[in-house]
Symmetry: C2
Subunit: 320 residues, 2 copies
DNA sequence: TCGAAGGCGGCAACCGTTTGCAGGAAGCTT
DNA sequence: AAGCTTCCTGCAAACGGTTGCCGCCTTCGA
């Protein structure tokens, strides 16, 4: 078995409480004693048991991070940024994947609740009501979702969508498809609302779709049949799948149809044609979410991060 | 505060030990009492505190999963498979990313040690010695690394590399570059050993390199200068970066240089040209690793999974 | 009618750590 | 030299569960 606080106490001839203080409140113990304890601890390979500590303090120094799909390249940069940022504050981040399943999401939150000080909920698939209910068990910060009174980090997808649609309009496109994501998704709603504000566009709504490459492949048929000359896709994965599906049908991108994605993930940059997309500040979002969670004073704090259009090769002039 | 076992005991008029047994050993308590307890628990929204339970039982029902880089698309499928498999056994998987940094890796293992029943170490960057030392604190299963006496899940990269090189040889390639990964990597070593066995090939070793797209981009210059007609890359990310780097220099793939990767990640399938690669059974590896960890009887169990060559568009006949 | 067996549930110690309280020693002030 | 701080350290009660042990009550067989 690994050494406990009692072993160290015995080895250094002091009471356990002194050992405890040596680690959690060093300034309260005499330097001489402290170094004796530290020597003994080092000798025995002692490390405080975080779980036991959590039992009395109520703080675990762990953060839960729940994402819908870890395989979506959008999330890893966010996760890495959050982990690195948290590490700097002596916190650890545990990541879990819900497989896009709200039930798994709820179960995960429940079991995580007692083992972490708070949860970062990224692009949740749960209903607002369910989230509000669970918030009684554990503090949340939500990313990419707006829930009244709950701290959130948002990315300005509305602005991004307008930029994208303006760009398409400037290229002469009139009839544009909006390929949305899962039905519970806040991002989809925002995109649609923004699109409605851009004048002179003839919108075709296609969805809901899976937010993956498969979803894009599956909707290619509908896009081809819809007679649009441009598409704004829910995310880059969908856009890439869609481009693949269109080219299988002999439809050239951007020759016949222009495609814009969301997120700016790596595969989009490597793809041919390189994907025009709305860049989402994922790293910044990860860091902000951690900050919001740890300060936690700012109850309903709301942070909105900027998005930007990155024009590459998958968009071109409308060809009628 | 959330309800504890004592609240439930009071509400249902029994002793806490009875409540405890209702959840952890239901057959020891009278059905009538049991349902009364369950009703009270449900009423109060009680859920056993896993961390507290772990304190006495020594089992957390958590598994740690440590990867070098969560942003590498190779890992997410492995992670998802491990999580899903573990969930079926009532275990939860916590994922953490080391940023390819051995020091972070060690620190992560140390803090994880007491909060999980075991750790899955995927493509570790730590030295064998360091891992063996840490194994005293927590049970390991290593993925993609062979350490004497430690349970491991391996993918047969040697076989994959031979298939790839045979394929290149059959296409008439003679001078082939081996673009390796990080210096501590077991996979790199295996690749090199396998390559040495294939007769009639003139090998150029280039490395170590970062196992990322950037690594591939950076090595493109050397590849172009080396005069090879084909490349076997450490992984798909490197291969994709390399193809990008080569095309920036006006070198056509596969026209002038053939490129083979490892892993079979999604972006490789979407890339133009589609990447020829050695497919690694990541999902199976994730599941096997969980199994090995949980049975844990099979001390030095060793599982080797098959790999397969997938020929797509990034390889072609040697053009001298 | 009695004893034994078995089912059920209470008691209390324990897991590893923190922390409020109190007391002793030393140092400082008058 | 007495009294007051200040600094340090020990004591013991938590935190939320689990579990070995023991005793009570039924039930059953002879």
């Amino acid at each position: 078995m690994t050494a406990t606080i009692r072993d160290v106490a015995r080895a250094s001839g002091v009471h356990v409480s002194t050992v405890s203080r040596t680690f959690s409140a060093p300034h309260l113990v005499n330097p001489a004693t402290r170094s004796r304890v530290l020597a003994a601890a080092d000798d025995l390979g002692y490390r405080p048991n975080r779980a036991a500590r959590a039992l009395t303090t109520g703080r675990t120094f762990n953060i839960g991070l729940i994402v819908a799909d870890i395989a979506n390249p959008f999330f890893p940069p966010l996760i890495k940024a959050a982990q690195a940022h948290a590490r700097g504050r002596d916190y650890h981040v545990f990541v879990a994947d819900t497989d896009e399943d709200p039930r798994v999401e709820e179960e995960l939150i429940r079991t995580l609740a007692k083992q972490v000080d708070g949860v970062l909920l990224c692009s949740p698939r749960l209903s607002n009501r369910a989230i509000e209910r669970l918030a009684e068990d554990v503090p949340f910060v939500v990313v990419n979702r707006r829930i009244k009174g709950m701290p959130a980090v948002l990315m300005d997808v509305g602005h991004g969508a307008r930029l994208a649609l303006d760009h398409l309009a400037a290229l002469g496109h009139r009839r544009v498809a909006l390929v949305s994501g899962p039905s519970g998704s806040w991002t989809s709603t925002e995109m649609r609302a923004a699109a409605a504000e851009v004048p002179g566009l003839d919108l075709v709504l296609l969805g809901p779709n899976q937010p993956t490459e498969e979803g894009g492949l599956a909707v290619a048929e509908d896009v081809a049949a819809s007679g649009v000359t441009a598409v704004l896709a829910y995310n880059d994965l969908v856009a890439l799948g869609l481009i693949e599906g269109l080219s299988e049908r002999g439809v050239d991108v951007p020759g016949q149809v222009s495609v814009i994605g969301f997120d700016d993930i790596l595969p989009g940059r490597l793809n041919r044609p390189k994907l025009t997309t709305v860049a989402m500040p994922a790293e910044a979002a990860g860091r902000m979410a951690v900050d919001l969670l740890l300060q936690s004073g700012g109850e309903g704090a709301l942070v909105t991060l900027d998005t930007a259009l990155i024009v590459r090769e998958s968009t071109g002039r409308a060809h009628t």
